[in-house]
């Protein structure tokens, strides 16, 4: 994979500001569109509307409707177009409004985008980015609340990115757009207004390098996307009672930084994996299996998993709130695992 050999942060002398995750995504896209005329964005209501979450607001004003393209409501079609455009010299960004809709494009992703390079014996490339969402608790019910990144993570040929901070979002998006392979980025809808420090201008974050979001010694919490904040809150709770939790964010589901996950678990001898996708056959299974195998001789307790409850996401707030991992539940589990329950 041609991930840039960049260091984790090449901030040079750039100013660092607090901006939201939505702004960080937009900034990354805008910067990449400025430096590379082959980058374009296509999707439903991406232009004047700037998407329903307004993440792309302002881009059509700068880049015009030939590069920020409003499409019909045709997810399979625009993804297919993206594959063809990517094979012939463009770098499309396909906007899939909700992650729940990737069921419509799994054939294009898994049978076309992921396989073109291999099937052609390495001759054709598909430098395409799909941006979409994950996450529940917006009271949007079963078809607009799923976190389906496990599906694409399963497929050789695809790369899967889950930014958990504004800083990561910008750096990972820039890497995604420059990569010569298909990349799917899942943004947590609930984090768009999350603020964080982001340097102005150029920096990239390579794929396959986990971020240690918090150092700790007693237990490892591997958390993805929306669950990183949950883990950090739990870690603070745990600190109150003298348990030092390390929070590790793999950042990319594939390539996966197995070494960092395993090393952390070896160090702490306990691990919990938390992710907002359905638990069964979800990414927590892979992460837990990797750690359980890699740190086997160091673990003092079984690796525990927390995913979304294995139910379609219910609409009613009282029910929906039961289905996602919370800081409280995570804190309790960590305490139990550390023999402190």
């Amino acid at each position: 994979m041609s991930t840039p050999s960049a260091t984790l942060s090449q901030t040079d002398a750039h100013a660092v500001r607090e901006i939201t995750l939505a702004q960080a995504v937009r900034e990354a896209l805008a910067e990449e569109m400025r430096r590379d005329p082959t980058v374009f964005i296509i999707g439903e209501d991406v232009a004047e509307a700037g998407t329903p979450f307004k993440v792309l607001s302002g881009l059509v004003e700068e880049f015009g409707p030939t590069r920020i393209i409003d499409s019909p409501i045709s997810e399979p079609g625009i993804t297919g177009l993206g594959v063809g455009a990517a094979m012939t010299g463009m770098r499309p960004v396909i906007d899939i409004m909700f992650g729940d809709f990737i069921g419509l494009i799994m054939d294009q992703l898994a049978n076309q985008a992921a396989k073109v390079h291999y099937m052609s014996g390495g001759k054709l490339n598909v430098p395409m980015v799909v941006r979409t969402t994950l996450g529940a608790t917006r009271r949007s019910a079963a078809q607009h609340s799923q976190s389906l990144h496990a599906w694409v993570s399963h497929i050789p040929g695809l790369q899967v990115v889950l930014p958990s901070t504004p800083y990561d979002a910008k750096g990972l998006y820039k890497t995604a757009i420059r990569d010569n392979n298909p990349v799917i980025v899942f943004e947590d809808k609930m984090m768009y207004q999350l603020k964080g420090s982001v340097p102005e201008g150029e920096y990239t974050i390579p794929f396959g390098v986990a971020g240690i979001k918090r150092q700790g010694t007693d237990i490892t919490i591997v958390a993805t996307s929306s669950m990183v904040q949950v883990a950090l809150t739990a870690a603070e709770n745990l600190e109150q009672i003298g348990i030092s939790a390390e929070v590790v964010d793999p950042r990319t589901m594939f390539p996966l930084d197995k070494a960092t996950l395993i090393e952390s678990a070896k160090k702490t001898s306990r691990a919990i994996v938390v992710d907002e996708g359905y638990e069964r056959y979800g990414v927590t299974a892979e992460l837990a299996a990797v750690i359980a195998e890699g740190a086997f001789y160091y673990l003092d307790a079984p690796v525990k998993r927390m995913g979304a409850m294995d139910v379609p996401v219910p609409f009613s707030p009282v029910l929906e709130d039961q289905t996602v991992p919370t800081p409280a539940a995570l804190t309790e589990l960590a305490k139990t695992l550390c023999g402190r329950a």
Binding site: E44, D45, A47, E48, A49, P52, D70, S71, P72, I73, S74, P76, G77, D100, F101, R138, R139, S140, A141, A142, Q143, H144, M309, D310, V311, P312, P314, F315, S316, P317, V318, L319, Q322, T323
Partner: protein
């Protein structure tokens, strides 16, 4: 905003449909019910008493009411994210609708579905659907099922102009035509796919897309409930007699935003356009005008009817607000039958 045929104010002249005064009155009442229901929903949203969002049907009432009145109770419908009107027109009750929108236990789906997923097998409502075009398969399958079971039920598939972008619609229209299935595809062309005018996303002539599959297709003024009813009745007859599917393109308009939170709309549609439809093309006003003109009813009676419905709606929302949430233990019930 892109070019579009300018709609004409008022009603087109046409043969008066077979007169059944009670029917027109009932349709008036139903349209008013939907209108007032949606205004109440908007209010629940603005006062932060409703979780999530909702897509209001206001302005489009004549389509659901005209079509559903051509159906029997045991006929099926499938609906969309903008589905309250379809559910009510097919016979749902106001109180359980509100309860569902508030995520309460007496809701049609025990609070699990919410605004975009109301289903009610008692009235043949196979469910609203939050996937654009997502019910095309379900509706066509229900029609196939009716045919296989030897039942003479008809299925109506409601969807918006935006669903014309979804390939699965063409796949199932092909099969509906091949196998002469008793299904009616009702396309509600309210001019917009969310925030994008349909002419920017939809090439060619809309009904040609159905005709290409050998499906009978008609365009109808979606603000004229009598016209919609008449076309729907013919389509239902055809379907029931084994003559196959129909595609009904209904020209209509939504008064509010794409959803309740879509308040700033001028970047995608002009205030004048909204005003024109509200004042010149309102389906309730148009029917009321005709009812008075034909002396089927009078303003006083109609106003009284509206007041009665308003009271019903108020009572229903009170019921829903007071209703309990489902017990948290229900969260993992109904995953499997």
């Amino acid at each position: 905003m892109a070019n579009t045929k300018t709609p004409q104010p008022g009603l087109a002249k046409r043969e008066s449909a077979p007169a059944d005064p009670d029917l027109w009155i009932r349709m008036y009442q139903q349209m008013v019910q939907i209108r007032l229901f949606e205004e109440q929903v908007n209010d629940l949203y603005k006062t932060a008493r409703m979780p999530g969002l909702a897509h209001l049907y206001s302005g489009e009432e004549a389509v659901a009411v005209g079509v559903c009145n051509a159906l029997r109770r045991d006929d099926y419908i499938t609906s969309t994210h903008r589905g309250h009107g379809h559910c009510l027109a097919k016979g749902a009750s106001l109180d359980r609708m509100f309860a569902e929108l508030l995520g309460k236990a007496p809701g049609y789906c025990r609070g699990k579905g919410g605004s975009m997923h109301i289903a009610d097998q008692d009235t043949g409502n196979l469910g609203a659907n939050a996937i654009v075009g997502g019910s095309a398969g379900i509706a066509t399958g229900a029609a196939m099922s009716a045919k296989m079971r030897g039942a003479d039920q008809v299925t109506v598939c409601f969807f918006g102009d935006g669903a014309l972008g979804q390939g699965v619609l063409y796949e199932v229209m092909n099969m509906a035509s091949l196998w002469k299935l008793p299904v009616i595809y009702v396309c509600e062309n309210n001019l917009y796919n969310e925030y994008t005018h349909y002419t920017e996303t939809t090439a060619g002539e809309l009904t040609a897309r159905a005709k290409a599959f050998g499906i009978h297709a008609e365009t109808v003024d979606g603000q004229d409930v009598r016209g919609v009813y008449e076309e729907a009745r013919q389509a239902v007859n055809r379907a029931r007699q084994g003559e196959g599917p129909t595609f009904l393109l209904c020209d209509t308009y939504r008064y509010y935003g794409h959803h309740v939170g879509d308040i700033q709309r001028t970047y995608y549609r002009a205030k004048e356009e909204e005003d024109f439809w509200r004042t010149e093309r309102d389906p309730i006003k148009l029917l009321a005008g005709w009812l008075v003109e034909q002396q089927v009813s009078d303003t006083v009676t109609l106003d009284q009817m509206m007041a009665d419905v308003r009271a019903e709606v108020a009572a229903a929302v009170e019921f829903a607000l007071a209703a309990p949430f489902p017990d948290v233990s229900e969260v993992d019930q109904h995953v499997y039958a």
